[in-house]
Subunit: 411 residues, 2 copies
């Protein structure tokens, strides 16, 4: 029998009624002829409650105990889902991470999956079991202790199972009905995408379209797992949601697939930095040590051996970045005349694999923004993405203008 | 280092503050020179919540999934207790049942412990760990699935660990401060016992002094584990609580140690039963099949080949017992002229190992009751216990009179 992986997030299993609803979808796929592996999150709110307990008990907690505590919510849902399926006469049983065993490294709190042996579950499928319900987000370390995969780790669990079991598809049920051309709260013209490539999804995921954990998309791309994102709250429709797949599975790709926007950005500039070899390392080394997520970096044209260095980072890291840079200056590791920070910026990006073969996309983007009177502060590009930093107050306007200009409202 | 087992029940770990309080007691025993094994229950209310989820999902649930779900509460407390101890600079870590592994049979929901290998935890003690925090109530079946030991199973877990690790003592922390000569709600003269023998405790536990799970006392008796019951809500006192120990450790035993009372009793009588061999089996077989907990049994003197058979059972089982007996009569398996039930009775018992060597204890008990005008309906005796069934309205009076007559208020 072909294997299908179905993952249900916290809101999709928040109550016994919702678990029943999810179980009905699983039952339907069993009727369609699949052996199904269901990955479940904890009932929504449970993991946060447990994380709160741990933080209150021990601010600098032992990550091994954190994992032992916070992984328990998924065990509850897995058992309840198996029972619900059994009530529907669907042969099912639950597995906790250590029972599979889903083997990870020992990086507690953010463990990486090493191996998922499939024999155990496959042999149960062979005996007539139709659904294996697996607690998401958790695994077991080489030392035999419970690990967790980081927030959103159940997505990664699902994709890893799909790869290990050579599943036909991995369906991620969530509270949105797919991936959109842009945030529908910014423009009502936003359209659900039927398909999107892994590469594009990765750019969108890391840009704030928080539908899927980035790592799960990377994993899906590496193992060519067909991923589908769809809503557990809509009526059953075999073609629902958005399919995330390899580029070659998308017959006609548009130049631009989506417009992403992120409001939590800040721009920092070091004025009059000595333009000498190693200066970038001298600046960004201390920032990395301080845990700053530096995103875009721009170095100005050198003028009399001096230059300005501009970078962007999350707005809530500006204080820490400032401290790190001032300390590096005090220690005479770097020199600058001024440190400017602008916390009123936003990042807007257009993403599309069609860009690779099309010239003039960046020029068109800049022209659209300019005709709206929007000043571009920083530009960064990748093969399939162009990002700009602009004044935050223009963010919605920029998204709407770009969405129109690249005709994303057209199916 | 000597090993001490400390068990904290649900009310003792109901909040993070209470866990901290319990951890302080553990820290004190570490300072006293012990390697400590802590057995924890789930935060009070948690297990009931999970049991409710299972019951609502699947009334005739798969016990394996039930166990997977309801065991999760203990995992949370174990991790939080370990973190709390670490915060106090006490080296500690948590173990879930499968990690020990606490091996049980496959009787899900009421599994029995087969083996507790001690190497794993002992080697950690050898490396400087001072406290092993173990999730109570749970184990692992021969098939590698999670089992639970039945309600109150954490007491049994604690005693089993004490036996496996040859612990100096097993301290059961609960919300009462020990075992009393009788229920203090019935007479203010009730005195806390300093010591009581396993045998007496077993009789009291099965008689409604719900301080300890009966199985845990049986296990302690078999492996000669010194058990202490004490309150987690009182100030620390090395001699607090009640010690439950072997008879030979009690220097001077009183004739009667305690008076137990149970209000949830019913008396049933089958009138005019044919007095033939096998009649008792014919009556009590169907009752056993129907799950009736028959307690006391009395058969009257035979009169012209007929007799009356009287027995007691929990008051909430009278209906089921009646149905079972009427069906057996309809099937012509037994015959009786009338089936009487009296649901207004109570059982009062005196318990004491000193009875064995003392004559006239029963006579004294009957005389005390008679002088209070209390009619005895049924009598049952064991080596160290005498129980009577009386009208429920006299229960408190009987307890008070017996408590006075056997001078239990004296230390």
């Amino acid at each position: 029998m072909p294997v299908l992986v179905m993952k249900f997030g916290g809101t999709s299993v928040a109550t016994l009624d919702r678990i029943k609803r999810a179980a009905k979808r699983v039952g339907r796929e069993v009727a369609n002829g699949y052996d199904v592996i269901v990955i479940v999150s904890a009932m929504s709110g449970e993991t946060n409650k447990l994380v709160g307990f741990v933080g209150e008990t021990s601010p600098m907690y032992d990550a091994r105990e954190y994992d032992a505590v916070v992984s328990s919510g998924e065990n509850v849902t897995a058992g309840l889902m198996a029972l619900t399926l059994q009530e529907m006469d669907v042969p099912a049983r639950s597995w906790q991470g250590w029972q599979v065993p889903l083997m990870t490294d020992g990086a507690h709190g953010a463990a990486r999956i090493k191996e998922i042996p499939s024999e155990n579950i496959m042999s149960k499928f062979g005996e007539g079991m139709k659904v294996a319900v697996v607690a998401g987000f958790q695994g077991i370390s080489p030392e035999g202790r419970i690990t967790t995969l980081g927030r959103g780790g159940s997505d990664t669990t699902a994709v890893a199972f799909a790869a290990a079991f050579d599943a036909e598809r991995c369906d991620i049920y969530t509270d949105v009905d797919g991936v959109y051309t842009t945030d529908p709260r910014i423009t009502a013209k936003a359209k659900k995408l039927e398909k999107i490539s892994f590469e594009e999804m990765l750019e969108l995921a890391s840009l704030g379209a928080k539908v899927l954990q980035t790592r799960s998309v990377e994993l899906a791309m590496r193992y060519k797992v067909k991923l589908r994102v769809l809503s557990s709250f809509e009526e059953y429709d075999p073609n629902a949601g958005t399919l995330i797949c390899a580029e070659e599975d998308i017959v006609e790709s548009k130049v631009v697939s989506g417009v992403a926007a992120s409001r939590e950005e800040a721009k920092m500039t070091l004025v009059s930095v000595a333009d000498t070899p190693g200066i970038a390392a001298a600046i960004f080394g201390p920032l990395a040590d301080a845990g700053i997520n530096v995103d875009m970096i721009v170095q100005n044209i050198s003028d009399e051996g001096e230059t300005d260095m501009t970078f962007s980072c999350p707005v809530d890291q500006v204080k820490r970045a400032t401290t790190a840079l001032q300390e590096a200056k005090a220690a005479a590791k770097i020199g600058f005349s001024e440190l400017l920070s602008d916390v009123e910026v936003a990042k807007v990006s257009i993403v599309g694999i069609g860009m690779r073969s099309q010239v003039g996309v960046a020029a068109k983007m800049f022209k659209v923004l300019s005709s709206e009177g929007i000043n571009i502060k920083v530009i960064a590009t990748s093969e399939i993405k162009i990002s700009v930093l602009i004044d935050r107050k223009y963010m919605e306007l920029a998204v709407q203008a770009l969405h129109d200009a690249f005709e994303l409202e057209k199916a």
